[in-house]
């Protein structure tokens, strides 16, 4: 392969190099995954459609396809294997936002974090969110996923003390501008305690939540 793999990443940052599948061919994915499999836990591929995934799995049958998340995984870490690990709540606004919520949930779970999923509780009927408050009040980090007007993460940030990570999605049409409306909404939240990742970046939100959780479990090693 022409790829120059970053084998030290896990040591430096607490999570390994993950394969971004969207702009790679099945051949390229297979070649990079083969290089990672002997050394890395977990091995993850994001943004990989069903057809491409099938071709990869023909070659690498140990990889599991997560359809809702459009991800491949192998060598996942057992969630909650450390008994100090806190739960990450993944909350989404509409049923249409579920693929990105699943990308976040599968990524964080594969990295060993316990997950609580709370889906389809957008602000058009805000009682639905409030009904789940006992569940997300116990989280050590919340990933809040929303498209269209993107107001959900800000409402949540006004209710809790743990850090909230907003993920805008491209769900919507017209002036949603492929997620810009939701992104700007989250960046301009008047409730603090909220930071934001790229549109549709469920993966990145999970890595941020994992880094937060990592800090909770044990002090960082002295280098």
């Amino acid at each position: 392969t022409d790829a120059c793999i970053d084998h030290h990443r896990s040591l430096r940052t607490g999570m390994p190099e993950v394969i971004y599948g969207a702009s790679k061919s099945a051949t390229q994915i297979i070649s990079i995954a083969k290089a990672l499999l002997p050394h890395t836990s977990p091995v993850l591929v994001t943004k990989v459609g069903e057809d491409k995934a099938r071709t990869v799995r023909d070659e690498l049958p140990t990889m599991v396809y997560h359809q809702a998340a459009e991800m491949l995984s192998a060598r996942e870490i057992q969630p909650g294997s450390s008994d100090h690990a806190g739960t990450i709540a993944v909350i989404c606004a509409g049923t249409s936002d579920m693929p990105i919520a699943e990308e976040a949930a599968v990524t964080a779970e594969s990295l060993g974090n316990p997950i609580a999923r709370i889906y389809d509780v957008g602000i058009a009927g805000i009682h639905r969110l409030l009904a789940h408050r006992p569940l997300f009040d116990k989280a050590t980090a919340i990933i809040a996923v929303a498209g269209m007007e993107g107001a959900l993460p800000g409402v949540i940030a006004g209710l809790v003390s743990c850090p909230v990570i907003g993920v805008p999605t491209s769900i919507g049409y017209g002036s949603s501008f492929g997620g810009i409306a939701a992104l700007l909404s989250m960046l301009n939240s008047c409730a603090p305690g909220l930071a934001v990742v790229n549109i549709n970046n469920g993966f990145g939100a999970a890595c941020m939540a994992h880094a937060i959780n990592l800090g909770r479990i044990c002090p960082l090693p002295q280098k």
Copy 2:
């Protein structure tokens, strides 16, 4: 004056021509106001700063200056003079949004509509809004004013059955882009029953609410 005044507007649309003060000199405002005063009720000037207003009032002392709203008015219609008139609730998210909320309130009040003001009840502490629910549940139209993430009008639209008019404000900084974030948020609300006017256009929201109220009081005349 070089202006070509639209003296029939009140007959056609139920409200007279209003002077947009921002890009006019005091001299121009005085000259147009003088042409309107003998024929029109109310006479209103929007977006007029304190100094310019003083010069206008030196010449036209019957005009009243509404400092918080940055408006001049004369010959206002008595609010609620018709006993069928419904109340318009004007709700704003933060104390910084109050000038635009006041522009809406003063305009609607001058056109004869009773007003309920509910200010500084943004979504960072959503219990503040819910505490006023009995008040805005009785409104025939709600004007919801918000800057930054602009989520308030959508939350309100999910709670009420009357029409909601969203007014984005330019309050905020950075990626609020002078009100674009709030505007897009409102346009993409997943709660329906909400329509939007221009950034900082409290005046336009009041005219829309007035048109809605007008329809409630009496059927439109057959032409």
Copy 3:
């Protein structure tokens, strides 16, 4: 189903949850529609293409497909069943804007509102609009749909006293930017009495008009 349906919405807001079909599979639509059908009037699905609609109707044959509007409906309310209901005029600028105009008309009609359709009367030949004035002068709300330069709603707002709801469409090319030109045009109308919904959001315009009409028929219940 994973969806968390908002069964109280009709009580709160005067209209039930509506299924946004664009980003859902036929399976998801069927599952949500099945949950709504026993409780809700009407049941509506918006932005659903012909093929997806056929799959839904194979399972739920009571649903009717409105091809021009790209909508599915069931359990519609009889238009004008209340004898105080006012007529909503749906006006569009060009023949290309008709799908969005139909989305508005079918939504409002299913919610029980009488509709007057006035199509292809854009400002390039403004006499066509003026010829229908007696019809739209009697409306209690006007939905004005236009792409390209989006000037029609502003021209109408300068002629009538009832509230006007502008719907920008994505019709056009080049610097129409998928409806941005029309959207901005409507937001900046110098004729007041006009509020705007998202690009191509015929559904949202109908909900706003329905909320306006609801207010006209009967006072809101005291809560």
Copy 4:
């Protein structure tokens, strides 16, 4: 002066180099004007504020300041000096658009074209425009100036057979985006026979109209 003046421009293009005053000091304007005055008719400076103009006139007292247009001129060509010259109509939507309309009118007049001014006839009260139809129906070119929603040029283009030049202005606020709303509106006009110049470019519109008029008076010289 460091400027490299284009003394052949009048021969090539039918109008001389004109000084863009906005980003030049009074000293620079004086130095370029002095170089042009012996050779050129007319000598024009655009976008020059009152104070800068006064300093220029202290040195060059033959120059006349047109306050409404924010222009300086000298050696103007007598309007209509050729008896084949057609009239250019300059029409604007609101009183706030008058400075740009005047920039167009003064420029075209200085180049020898007869002008008809029709101001403050925007689409909020469209009967005002229609009342002047006999006047602009006789024009050989129409310059239509509008800010905010910028609909006026398109409405005019639907009524006349002569070419229409649209000039968007920066009048407005919020989502008018300094004239972008008006510019896009004009570019997307569904009425053809309309072309557009830059925001606030009254000067450029006048040059285009002059070039059109030039063509009408006499065939272009064979080169």
Copy 5:
């Protein structure tokens, strides 16, 4: 048909209603064309792909398909039938801009104007343009078509005295943003005597040039 055809347009504006084919089905085009054919010269359909055109021609075999221009026409006016008619030069920058240049040329030709085509003479090799100067110096109007950096119309406007109409095209990639780069370039030309139409709007440029030419041939009728 649901279309409301503007049969007076030719009388008012000197050119008939033209069918915008991009967002219409073959059935809709046929129905509108049938309504126009008995009354109108010429009958034109713009932006119609090869397949759709074939279906239309199956029903209306008198219509001619212009492949390079993606247009259908019937009842064209004989070019130069009036002996006062001036020639319109259509100039384009690259071979990729030819479809839009052809849209302009076919439209103007069908309306009776003689055309001179000068193609692939962009500014990367400016001697190619200068070599054709005798040809375009005789034009009564020039249509200049360019994508990418869009500099050609401004260079031409600096060389000639007749009016120049710039047509930005969507040719390019990356930061050409579908023609925005070329559009902005043309709007900001420092050479005056240039006005601009929408991106890819060869049709609109031809209508503008036709209106200019119309003015040259004969004075406008008194109304």
Copy 6:
């Protein structure tokens, strides 16, 4: 005061309501601060210029002005008062980014977090950053502040395992677009473990870091 203060916020979210000073008068700030002072620790005012701060301090002399941060504070919590508290590193790219870095540092410090400041270590001379690695490797959260190309937070996220919060600043000119370039750069970081707040929002970054630190010290209370 017209403000409706959210006195429960500290209980819900672990930090009190903070006064956004930019769009408020000194009078408004004083009135809100007076309402907060008896109940809240700390009391903070952000984005308040020197003159406005002086007027506030004339009335409320217990408030301290942090000039570099443009903040007022009172009743700060002693940094590191809990012996489990981790250190927050505040890193900035250039000397011009220091005001926003200070806003973050002062906010986090006032909330009781120990701070390590590492300033002027941008990527143009990347050895400067690497030299401080022992210091920031021990942090429990890193706030990385950068304007212009905004690359610093991504480079840091590639080196560490703790969560990184990126703060774009408006430092730069031309196509930095007031911080958009830096914002987009951070949102698109190919190094995960990074989330972003609004342009110039040092305050929001500090709140996010504080929420992360809070989680480390003690488990959240069961509600």
Copy 7:
């Protein structure tokens, strides 16, 4: 062919006209290539997909297809044929950026420049770049290709003394906006010695590097 080929370009600018393949049919490409082949070295076609390339090669079998670069070439100049020629380093950030890096490498190589390829060394693992420093420290120009946050060229410019040419790619999603994020990042680099070409314009970067190299080999001829 309708194309007007610029046969003097090589003499003027040191490189011949190159065929931009994206918006041309195979027929057009063949016709232009046939006109160039007898006179020009090299003959290059950029942005040509596999299918179109096959059709061209059926007619012109001497042309070679470079799959990774999506280019056709013939009559390439022998790299390094002049013994003064310096090496151009082509560096890219991720495996997804390789097609654009190859477009740059193949173009520069065909023009006779020796190339060093250093791929997949983005800033998420910056040690990978530093490991190749001896290689790119000897280059006479560096082409640095990156999508997403686009930080690589700036980091390189801070390390070397030779000129760096940044090429943003459209790799990424969401707020990468098709390469805008990377483009802005490169334009705002705080490390000088870096200039930028269009998104995905590997071809243009190679031409710039070639022009730089040309200057190194021999002084320009006196004209």
Copy 8:
């Protein structure tokens, strides 16, 4: 000083750290300049207005103020001190672009490069540029500065074989959008051999030209 100066930069990149004056106080500039003066040649401050410069010079009288360039300099390198140094041509389009052209010229000159200035030769009168061809044909690099439509660098790149560096300026108004129109124009040039720096970044263009020139004089040192 809080600044962390990069004293190795000259060794690595061939030019020292330069002080960006726009967002720094006079005090900050003085403190950094004092740290640089004993070690660095030249010492440069860019984007520093007249008043701030005077305060700096009161403290550091050896610094020279270049008013047209808004720069301070000390310890300049003698231009052309190496007898292999090539001349850099600095060309600008209009008199208003001269400050940015001067920023480029003074920077490059201070770094020891001989400069040829060719000003006010924009494309509206293209013969002015062609008249200077012998001068810029001998340059080893050309810096081409233009605002408004920004076409000049592309025209030059079509004429010469040396590398051209385009500098867009913010000169213009309306849709020039502070230099975006010029920037996009240059990025999309159809003439290759052109790369671009940030809007108004005369400094960056000079550094790029210096790096090109450096390469010409002597091979890079082996590291």
